[in-house]
Symmetry: D3
Subunit: 153 residues, 6 copies
């Protein structure tokens, strides 16, 4: 999947939030997976402290406005929240391109990002690096460094 997208500003995003203090944390990765399957652009949860000193989690999801319904479906079904709040946000996305590099252990995809036509980000793909590290019995960090070095040369 070699993709290329232009740098752009997307004005039609929405940030969705809920604070939850009564949910088994074991379920959180499942909720996150569901949100991404249904089209979330990003999703994080943040340890927070709530009313009466209760520890809890803030979910914060970023999605395009037309995905609000899908996000709500997941959050109301899979978490214990009684409400969601949202507000519009604007997103500035870099031009992204996927390329690949050859390492001594095989090919690794590298995602790059450009800001005003200047290359600023270079990210070897985690999945490729982890697979190679595992299969060749080399440290993951060495695979990253070699992928990065090959890109630079």
């Amino acid at each position: 999947m070699f993709t290329h997208s232009q740098e752009h500003v997307d004005p039609d995003l929405i940030r969705i939030e809920a604070n939850i203090d009564d949910m088994n944390p074991e379920w959180i990765p499942y909720v996150m997976d569901k949100l991404f399957e249904k089209g979330a652009n990003d999703a994080v949860f943040i340890p927070v402290i709530m009313k009466k000193g209760r520890p809890g989690f803030m979910f914060q999801i970023l999605a395009s406005k037309d995905r609000l319904n899908e996000m709500e479906d997941v959050l109301f079904a899979e978490t214990t929240t009684l409400g969601l709040r949202y507000s519009p946000v604007i997103c500035h996305r870099l031009s992204r391109k996927q390329t690949k590099v050859e390492t001594r252990w095989g090919t690794i995809r590298v995602k790059t990002g450009s800001y005003r036509n200047r290359l600023v980000q270079v990210a070897p793909e985690y999945e490729d690096c982890a697979r190679i590290a595992r299969n060749h019995g080399v440290p993951l960090k060495d695979v990253y460094h070699e992928a990065r070095r090959e890109f630079d040369l």
Copy 2:
């Protein structure tokens, strides 16, 4: 207090935030209580890292717009912040209803939430469960599970 409220979207909310790095954390629960007394819908604080590597707390309060003054009164009086920032948010609240269940140790209120007329949330009241657990010398988690089971049956 058996209440019932319809599912609705409330467009007149405001998120109020401050980052604070010079306040005795012992005072935080007091501030939280005050905010809820003055009508906050929700209030959390989040451990953050600020300028010069200083640990601090982000307060994040959700209130209806017409409570902004009361929230500011509390925050400027009770915290050490020199500024507050705010932005509008929209809140989608589930239909809420309070019912009760009978357990072997007594009655427990249960709050439920419905999303598009489908029951999605069932939450035994903490105060009831904690009182029963304490008075009957049973684990709190067993009280929750029995309350939940009785609701389901």
Copy 3:
């Protein structure tokens, strides 16, 4: 309750820990209260990240060795853990004394701590300060500062 205890080293303490990822966080303050009722010297919980990226909580309790059974009773009954680990620790406690100061709003107890006969800690009692702040409608921080100032003068 005006107490005075000498500076000493207590060699008979134990640190008890558990990592928990499948427990409703709403129950945590209840567990903490129980631990203190049964004689814990200190108890904290720490947000951690566990196996498979699951968020969880590490409980860490400090108690005298002869309270290990009581602590285990609470933790196995009230949390969801399947195991506890412990290790001995030594505690150096300052000489503690309780005194009181007069403020314009009434008397406030102040706890002090001395290290090698030098006064190093001065802590107005939260409960007194909070009660006065509430009853007199003054900011809690002003009550603390006045209590501290009266102590110093």
Copy 4:
């Protein structure tokens, strides 16, 4: 895999720790997986703040003493630490048993824990619940609640 183990105290454990502030956090789940593959009993990482206000992570691993070498091999190879510290800990493990329950959507394994011959823990297996939730299109939390209810009845 239906297992049963007796309640016991294991005196031959070791807690291994490192504080790390210069490692790509993307690598952490990989490190965790490796540690478990090599026999770690438990492994968590904790967000901490280090020298000069740098955010970092504390790794904390629990393993039997005879696994110290394997743990060190992973940690020195896969993280960026220049040192590890360790100390002995004792672990009290509950009697564990695996049973299963029938729900309307299929069989779910349930792990139980007993403390002094009293059943205190009941934990439906995450993997079974997640698979069923996914395959039957039902909320994960409903699957948990039904598994738990079936166990209790």
Copy 5:
């Protein structure tokens, strides 16, 4: 530098955010310094948990709208993010004034804040207190307390 600014509401601020999971945390204080040099009003980072259970950091910057370009220049150059999101916020800033107090160890600047013409904040300058504590070999907390006491008297 003795300054005085009136209490006011600034409607032209912007909150800029990015979630980052693949950046060496050692670089974060450097990024923060750069943001403040380029005019950020405030900047914090928050430990969060991201996709696939990866720990990460949310950067949250507050700046005036006309600094958006400078903030983007820093964030795209110095972090590893491929996108930034932003949304407008309004800031209510207290009237601020700088005064000074004399302590037994020398002069300390004190920043004050007034809300509706009532003095609510009193903050001894960290840099002055730290310098004095260091030069005179006294505990920093004693310097703060004396500065505060002198202000009150």
Copy 6:
């Protein structure tokens, strides 16, 4: 300062801990600096939640046993704690060596660590990289990558 130290196990270390909920977080970096000046090997603080839902900080210091007095002097003078607890730990330190690399912008020191005579850690010095990034107006991350690449070649 080009140093070389052999891989070794140091059995004479001590972990010192305190949980603090009533201290101005602004003072924490000062405390940390003092601890390192007085010989701490490592020092971190961890956001925790304490009694009554109060947020606080756990300080955790690692020092050689013969520095216990100096550490206590700092902690009792500069924090608000009324007690410290400690326990022995053993530290396994890699062989460390300092070397240097030439980049297009100048010389950068690189610290390396070897485990059983195998090079496992390579860390460009933050101070050198930050100075160069600042002086040459290049992104800090580019300086790190080039230093690392030069080391590998």
